[in-house]
């Protein structure tokens, strides 16, 4: 019981132990159970204890197992000290050795040479055993973990299966109930059906009965009627006889004079001849009526036949042109159309000859019409199929290509339009230039003619020139642009002219607000034409000159204010450029 005591201490200890201690405790407890089960009965009580330990902290149990890797704390030491103290070292060692040997571990003691009372503790063995125990512990914990997880899994599976089972049970229940309901309804409907059948039968029987009654009553009634009628007739006869026998002179016609017959003829005796005549007349009337009706019917027939033939012809004409078109799916029926046409042509001629309601002719006509109609129908059906196929398959290749083509074409057309626009612009500009050239030529002529008169003014103009150098940008521009004139005589000729023109234009010195006026002045005098001369000369030298030319030409164009504006603004820039560029 020595073993028990220390365990009692352990068992009775409060649960305030740390996790590690508890784990060990429980682990120890485990061992106890394992060993105890297999071993002596004296340890059964121990097993009880240990099992208690196992059961009670069940929730902590799993957690604690998982935390088995938590390192042992100081409390363990106290725990160890509780088991093995200074006093019972030998006892504890021997006990441990016993336990370990039973477990199959090597002995803790050293090999004893003899039967000595005290055996030395084999430290190596102890360490090995400790290691083994640790390994074992780890393995067990791992196994426990696995078992735990498996247990959880199985638990969840179980839950799931149980829920499935319950659901299926419910479903089964509901379907059973439904089935019962349907069966019930079916039964009811069958009942109703039977009832209705019964009612119907009853009604039919009743109807039959009533009919029989009516029939019997009718015969009875007829009998009675006949009887009564006979009586009545007898009475009538009697009465008639009486009346006739009465020799009543009163039955007479008192007429003033005979009235002539309506048609003026005399009355005639009734003879056999008249009878025969009457018969003849009657038959004549009948025959007339029949003939008349037959005529009507013949007319109708002829009309209908005409209509049918027309229909046939139209149908043939409808079907035959189809063959000329290159169709992908030419079938034999269209071939038969042609042959039919030929046949029918012959038939038609024959028919027209026999315009009677002859049996064979009639049959031929109807048959041929039927044939044509069938062909037409199949043709229409094919067309329908084709149409539906087209719809189903979506766009053909042809369509796609055509669309692309279409787009390409539109692009091409757009490009063309742009090109055309540009061409028009350039042509317009060229036209203007041409106009200016013409004007320039005319001015040159004029200037040439006026040259001699303006010589003295040149100096003045130069002075003015300098004076006005700062007046307006425009003038500056003009001036600056004109400055580097190193061209030959034409230019020089033009320059005094320019000067003159400039003087003319100077009074109307432009400010930004009066720009329109200057423009108009300029356009009037077309001085810019002159000015254009100079940059034009520069044109081959300067790249920017061209632009300025253009712009100035634009500016001088009468009636285009925007053009002037733009032209002038551009001239600013260009001239600035020019300024820089010009040498």
């Amino acid at each position: 019981m020595r073993k028990v005591r220390p365990r009692e201490d352990l068992c009775s200890g409060p649960l305030s132990f740390s996790s590690g201690i508890l784990a060990l405790e429980i682990a120890m407890g485990d061992w106890m159970t394992v060993t105890d089960r297999g071993l002596s009965s004296e340890s059964k009580t121990i097993s009880q204890y240990t099992s208690e330990i196992k059961m009670s902290p069940s929730s902590l149990y799993s957690q604690q197992v998982l935390c088995s890797s938590i390192p042992l704390s100081k409390n363990v030491h106290s725990f160890f000290s509780a088991f093995c103290t200074e006093d019972n070292i030998e006892q504890s060692i021997s006990y441990l050795d016993q336990e370990l040997t039973t477990f199959g571990f090597p002995s803790l003691y050293e090999e004893s040479k003899g039967k000595e009372t005290k055996r030395e503790l084999n430290i190596v063995a102890v360490l090995n055993c400790m290691n083994e125990l640790l390994v074992l512990q780890r393995k067990n914990l791992l196994a426990q973990e696995n078992v735990e997880t498996q247990n959880l899994k199985l638990g969840s599976d179980m839950d799931h299966l149980q829920s499935c089972y319950s659901k299926l049970k419910e479903q089964l229940e509901t379907s059973r109930r439904e089935m019962i309901g349907l069966q019930e309804r079916d039964r009811q409907l069958q009942c109703k059906n039977r009832n209705l059948h019964q009612l119907l039968k009853n009604e039919k029987d009743e109807v039959q009965k009533l009919q029989n009654i009516i029939a019997s009553r009718a015969t009875q009634y007829n009998h009675d009627m006949k009887r009564k009628e006979r009586e009545y007739n007898k009475l009538k006869e009697r009465l008639h006889q009486l009346v006739m026998n009465k020799k009543d002179k009163k039955i007479a016609m008192d007429i003033l004079n005979y009235v002539g017959r309506a048609d003026g003829k005399r009355g005639s005796w009734r003879t056999g001849k008249t009878e025969a005549r009457n018969e003849d007349e009657m038959y004549k009337i009948l025959l007339n009526d029949y003939e008349y009706r037959q005529k009507q019917i013949l007319m109708e027939n002829a009309e209908l036949k005409k209509v049918l033939q027309q229909m046939k012809k139209e149908m043939i004409s409808l079907l035959s042109p189809q063959k000329k078109k290159p169709r992908e799916r030419v079938d034999d029926s269209t071939g038969t159309v042609i042959s039919d046409v030929e046949e029918d042509a012959g038939e038609l001629s024959r028919e027209s000859m026999w315009d009677l309601s002859c049996e064979t002719v009639r049959e031929q006509l109807t048959n041929s019409i039927r044939k044509q109609w069938r062909i037409l129908k199949s043709h229409v059906e094919k067309l329908d199929n084709q149409v539906s196929k087209v719809h189903l398959e979506g766009f053909n290749d042809e369509d796609v290509i055509s669309r692309q083509d279409h787009e390409q074409e539109t692009e091409k057309l757009e490009l063309e339009i742009q090109q055309c626009k540009e061409m028009i612009k350039t042509q317009q500009q060229l036209l203007q230039r041409k106009a200016f050239e013409e004007e320039r030529a005319s001015w040159l002529k004029q200037q040439f003619l006026n040259m001699t008169t303006f010589d003295h003014q040149n100096s003045e103009n130069v002075k003015l020139f300098s004076a006005f150098s700062g007046s307006s940008d425009r003038d500056n521009l003009i001036v600056h642009s004109r400055q580097p004139q190193k061209k030959p005589h034409s230019v020089s000729n033009g320059s005094p002219v320019c000067m003159s023109k400039l003087t003319k234009s100077l009074p109307a010195s432009p400010s930004t607000s009066d720009f329109c006026q200057t423009r108009s002045c300029l356009s009037e005098h077309s001085s810019i034409n002159v000015l254009n001369i100079t940059p034009e000369e520069i044109k081959p030298n300067q790249v920017g000159g061209e632009c300025t030319n253009q712009k100035w030409s634009v500016a001088s164009r009468p009636g285009s204010q925007e053009g002037c504006y733009s032209g002038c603004s551009l001239t600013y820039t260009n001239s600035h450029v020019e300024k820089d560029d010009l040498p």
Binding site: E281, M282, Y283, I285
Partner: protein, 437 residues
């Protein structure tokens, strides 16, 4: 011509001027013009007398006395020279000749609503006879009263015979207890027999189309069956349901136009949307929108002559339309388009329709309901005309003039002539008279 008590008054149609005045020996029950309009016969059934007057010679007179034989019916022969008198109890028919003063007797005539019928051209007369409880038909030549044909008919109890307008076919139909109509040709051969159903009440009314192409048979089941003259088989049947659903059919409902503002209860609520053509003082037609349900009358099943079935049938003179009246919907007149074989229009009156008659010249229908209004229908529309006069003129029957320009409206003791002009205006002339024309 009209008669008052025992006087016969002959008036001019256009002016209503009295042309002649004759006095008979007794109260006149029946007057009839001869076919050539030269003579008028006046029959006095009580006395068994027939007096004939001439219009050309007012002093000419003729008196036929049947004596004890009695007189039940009297009519002219088509040539206007013979008078057929049916003696009492239908013992015999006496044919009196005005030309020869001779008498012929025809035995065993049948006592049925329509036992004598003349062909349109007046050549032949068909007479229904019954001997030994069997029906026979005799065809006589009217010119000399020779018996042409005599044949028996396969009928239980012949109710009526009628020649087709072309005079070649004779329609013979059976009692209403059995639906059977037989068609005989002029020479007595049976052309065809038609029976739509059995065990129910059968034929109620029969009408030939003026072109002889169609034979309309109205029966107690509320349907009209049209037979064609080629095969004598039914080509269609027209039902007369109480509810009309087809929007293509024009339904004219007569509605009162309330004139009194005080007693507002008298006005009938207009049934449908839109107003129809109208020209009247007190009532107008309104076009009712479908579905329209007509007023029906539940027939008393245990009485004789139940008010069900097609009681009235009439073809328009061009055979394009057929007017019918279903007796359980007594307020409505149904007009059928024969060209298309479908219902064309329905006119619902406020009171039961008494009679209708087509204009002899054009498809115009005149209807009277016993009220003081005359109703006219044509494919263009319909209108209701108030008959002028003091007090209420209850139009009980009407009769068109052959020219289609005028018609006579008869009330109990008045006659009113209605002149129709080509425009919408209608003028009426009223005279107080007695008896009937």
């Amino acid at each position: 011509a009209s008669c008052v008590q025992y006087r016969l008054v002959v008036r001019d149609v256009n002016t209503l001027q009295i042309l002649q005045l004759y006095t008979c020996l007794d109260q006149i029950q029946h007057i009839e013009w001869s076919a050539d309009s030269l003579f008028i016969l006046c029959a006095m059934y009580k006395r068994g007398l027939v007096q004939v007057w001439s219009l050309e010679q007012p002093e000419w007179h003729c008196k036929i006395d049947e004596g004890s034989a009695g007189l039940v019916a009297s009519c002219w022969s088509p040539d206007g020279r013979h008078i057929l008198n049916t003696t009492e109890f239908h013992l015999r028919i006496t044919v009196w000749s005005l030309c020869t003063k001779s008498v012929s007797y025809i035995k065993y005539p049948k006592a049925c609503p329509q036992g004598i019928t003349f062909t349109r051209d007046g050549r032949y007369m068909a007479l229904a006879e019954r001997r030994d409880c069997k029906d026979y038909v005799s065809i006589f030549v009217c010119s000399d009263w020779q018996l042409l044909r005599h044949f028996d008919t396969d009928t239980q109890d012949l109710t009526g015979i009628e020649w087709a307008p072309n005079g070649c076919v004779l329609a013979v139909w059976d009692t209403c207890l059995e639906y059977k109509i037989l068609l005989y040709s002029l020479d007595g051969r049976l052309l065809s027999a038609y029976s739509a159903y059995e065990w129910s009440l059968g034929i109620k009314s029969v009408a030939w189309s003026p072109s002889s192409q169609f034979l309309a048979v109205g029966s107690y089941d509320g349907k009209v069956r049209i037979l064609n003259h080629v095969t004598w088989k039914m080509i269609t049947e027209f039902g007369h349901p109480a509810t009309i659903n087809n929007p293509k059919i024009v339904v004219y409902k007569e509605a009162e136009k309330s004139l009194q503002l005080g007693l507002g209860c008298l006005s009938f609520p207009p049934p449908g949307a839109g107003a129809g053509p109208l020209l009247s003082s007190e009532s107008k037609y309104e076009i009712a929108s479908v579905p329209v349900s007509l007023q029906t009358l539940k027939p008393v099943t245990d009485r004789a002559n139940p008010k069900i079935g097609i009681g009235m049938l009439a073809f328009s003179p061009d055979s394009y339309f057929l007017a019918t009246r279903n007796d359980n919907i007594p307020n409505a007149v149904w007009v059928w388009d024969i060209q298309k074989l479908r219902l064309f229009a329905v006119l619902e009156q406020l009171s039961p329709v008494r009679t209708f008659q087509w204009d002899p010249q054009q498809p115009r229908l005149a209807i009277c309901t016993g009220g003081s209004r005359l109703y006219l229908w044509s494919p263009a529309g319909c209108m209701s005309v108030q008959v002028p006069g003091e007090g209420d003129f209850a139009v009980l029957s009407l009769c068109w003039h052959l020219s289609g320009d005028s018609m006579a409206l008869l009330s109990k003791d008045h006659v009113c002539l209605c002149f129709l002009e080509t425009e919408a205006a209608v003028s009426t002339a009223c005279r107080q008279l007695g008896g009937h024309t």
